[in-house]
């Protein structure tokens, strides 16, 4: 392999990492809720999409008075807040009545929620593509001779910072400790004086925030928004399985692996198959393999029930 091929491969991998960082953020949202509440939130993709649309809305309004860059930052922050609010409202109104019900009902209620959210977004903004304001330069940056689009670099940096913040939050803050305790054992945590209800709402709010950030960068990478974007949430699902359902590290590593695999498959396998974006199903093929070999994932605890 000559230098050009190596550089090309590096570019493919870095681009994959950028996509993977978005997957990791979405997967983090899944895992946070699952760990604290034992509920698997199929609406995470829709929550992410809502974040992307909100940020588009705010930055379109503020673009004039503030300029593109600052407007993007303000929009991102306010959209994260709005999404957190939406997620916690969903938890309180729809998911909480279902606590203690069979898995099947809970899965279906989050799917129902995802339909309502997607329909709501489509109702407000319409089914057609909407361009998002692009604060990032189109010309790629050269990092060690490898060309990388600016937006991808920012995606990676922001995700890393956000994940670090949350890891520290879980490790050192009182609230984070409470969340980990609840994840470990809800009943005991409740008896120890932790407000479990608040923890539930908070875990939804936090996954709203990480989802919104993922959505904003996804929108900035693609350049436009469609309600169909929410399917990326389902595509990130395998990252959760790969990493292990209840492992935060797993979600991050799983997301990154998934992004890289997808990009490699899209670059090297797709031309051989002739047509068709193999990226769409790479993650599902991976999840099937993981399910066969190691259903509890790379970092998950091996508590899955076998029948």
């Amino acid at each position: 392999m000559d230098a050009m091929h190596v550089r090309f491969l590096a570019m493919v991998i870095v681009n994959g990492l950028a996509v993977g960082a978005i997957y990791a953020l979405i997967a983090l949202g899944f895992v946070l809720i699952f760990k604290a509440t034992d509920i698997f939130n199929f609406a995470q993709g829709e929550i992410m999409m809502f974040g992307a649309y909100m940020s588009m809305l705010v930055s379109n309004v503020l673009m004039g008075p503030l300029g593109l860059g600052p407007a993007f930052i303000v929009a991102a922050v306010s959209s994260a807040f709005a999404t957190a609010l939406l997620a916690s409202l969903c938890e309180m109104a729809i998911v909480r009545p279902m606590l203690g019900k069979p898995v099947l009902s809970i899965i279906m209620i989050t799917l129902g929620l995802s339909f309502v959210l997607r329909g709501g977004v489509e109702f407000v903004w319409g089914p057609l593509e909407i361009p998002v304001p692009k604060p990032f330069k189109v010309a790629p940056l050269l990092v060690a001779g490898v060309p990388i689009a600016e937006v991808r670099l920012y995606t990676i940096v922001t995700s890393v910072v956000l994940m670090a913040v949350f890891l520290l939050f879980f490790k050192y803050s009182n609230q984070g400790l409470g969340m980990r305790a609840t994840a470990e054992d809800q009943e005991t945590a409740f008896l120890m004086g932790i407000n479990v209800k608040k923890i539930f709402t908070m875990s939804w709010a936090i996954s709203g925030i990480v989802g919104a950030v993922g959505g904003i960068f996804l929108g900035a990478t693609i350049g436009n928004l469609v309600p169909f974007l929410s399917h990326v949430g389902l595509r990130a699902l395998p990252a959760v399985i790969l990493g292990g359902m209840n492992s935060i590290t797993g979600a991050i590593v799983g997301g990154l692996i998934l992004g890289v695999c997808e990009n490699l498959a899209g670059t090297y396998i797709a031309p051989k198959l002739g047509g068709g974006d193999i990226k769409e199903i790479t993650s599902y093929v991976i999840v099937l393999i993981v399910m066969m070999i190691r259903p509890y994932g790379l970092f998950g605890t091996k508590e899955i029930e076998r029948v």
Binding site: M108, P127, G276
Partner: protein, 348 residues
């Protein structure tokens, strides 16, 4: 989800298909009314009725798997697609007759069901859901991109067949064959549920370990449930191909899979009547929404591309509503209404 329970005092009572003699009468009346439908209904109504019928068949399959056996699948539409494509390909390349296509497309879907059932022996709950979901997306992808076989996005056209003197281009005749098959599927499911197999399914659902202890072979019954359920889905898919006379990958999406789970939730898990009610409800829902919002779109043309969104919101809203407020579904409401009127006009 709370599964509808009945109060039965004797074993004989449990073995009866009809709870009371009057039920037979009402069913017969209902069937006569359905048989008369083509006399006074237009072809559009008949198409909708056909859709209801084939949705009933697929929903019965879904109910066998999810309602009776407790294995949640989000890949039901993929099985339907496999059935539909099998029928279309057989009709196109081998000019197979309608009867053979129905059986073969069901069999094809059942074989696929066997394959998907294998992971279900090790996985349950959420993990099974994700596996079947992955299956759904992979099937959809293959159908869309294996152009040489499935003709990609355009899909395959299927010529109207004729069976036993019925001309399947005629909507009325189409309706009769769908009605016949739906009734057959309902009778089959009702009998299956009362057989040893059906009780084994329910045992697997209610407590798999206990079921194994009392001698239910888990692997066997899970695989059987998957195969039966996908057979019915395949038959429904085949009928879909004949009713629409074309089959494309866009028909059987993930949303359709969720819709089928919604049907049995809305109708009532683990009941035949529930599958029928739920399937008809979910098929008629977009029609009703179209009736309500149709005039609105002609008044405000800008509104017309929001109809899809309204449909999605209605689907999701109904799933949420039934799960929170009426977990027994329409079947539960039906039983309550019936019990309310039983002692009428006395209070007790």
């Amino acid at each position: 989800m709370a599964v509808t329970r009945y109060c039965k005092r004797t074993y004989l009572e449990d073995q009866r298909i009809f709870a009371a003699p009057s039920a037979k009468l009402f069913l017969a009346l209902f069937l006569v009314l359905l048989a008369l439908l083509p006399v006074f209904a237009g072809s559009y109504v008949l198409v909708v009725a056909c859709l209801c019928g084939l949705a009933v068949i697929a929903a019965l399959g879904m109910n066998i798997l999810t309602g009776y056996t407790g294995q949640l699948s989000l890949g039901h539409a993929a099985f339907m697609a496999l059935g539909g494509y099998t029928a279309a390909l057989l009709a196109k390349h081998y000019h197979m007759p309608f009867e053979a296509n129905i059986v073969l497309s069901g069999a094809m879907a059942a074989v696929a069901g066997l394959v998907v059932a294998v992971p279900s022996l090790r996985l349950k709950g959420l993990y099974l859901v994700i596996t079947t979901m992955a299956f759904q997306f992979i099937v959809q992808y293959v159908l869309l991109h294996w152009g040489s076989l499935t003709e990609g996005e355009r899909g395959i056209a299927i010529r109207p067949a004729s069976v036993l003197g019925l001309d399947l281009e005629n909507r009325a005749h189409q309706f009769y064959s769908v009605l016949f098959l739906a009734a057959l599927a309902a009778i089959f499911t009702k009998n299956l549920a009362m057989s040893r197999t059906g009780r084994a399914f329910v045992a697997v659902r209610d407590h798999d370990i206990a079921a194994e202890v009392i001698g239910v072979n888990l692997a066997k019954y899970k695989i059987m449930s998957f195969a039966t359920s996908s057979f019915l889905a395949g038959v429904a898919g085949c009928l879909y191909a004949y009713v629409y006379q074309r089959i494309t990958p866009e028909i059987f999406t993930f949303v359709v899979s969720v819709e089928y789970v919604a049907m049995i939730i809305v109708g009532g898990m683990g009941t035949v009547l529930g599958s029928i009610l739920g399937a008809c409800f979910m098929v008629l829902l977009p029609q009703a929404l179209g009736l309500v919002f149709g005039p609105l779109t002609s008044a405000y043309p800008a509104f017309s591309n929001r109809l899809g969104a309204i449909n999605i919101i209605a689907y999701g809203g109904i799933i949420i509503f039934f799960l929170i407020f009426e977990p027994d579904g329409l079947f539960g409401i039906w039983v309550r209404v019936k019990n309310y009127w039983k002692p009428w006009p006395f209070k007790y």
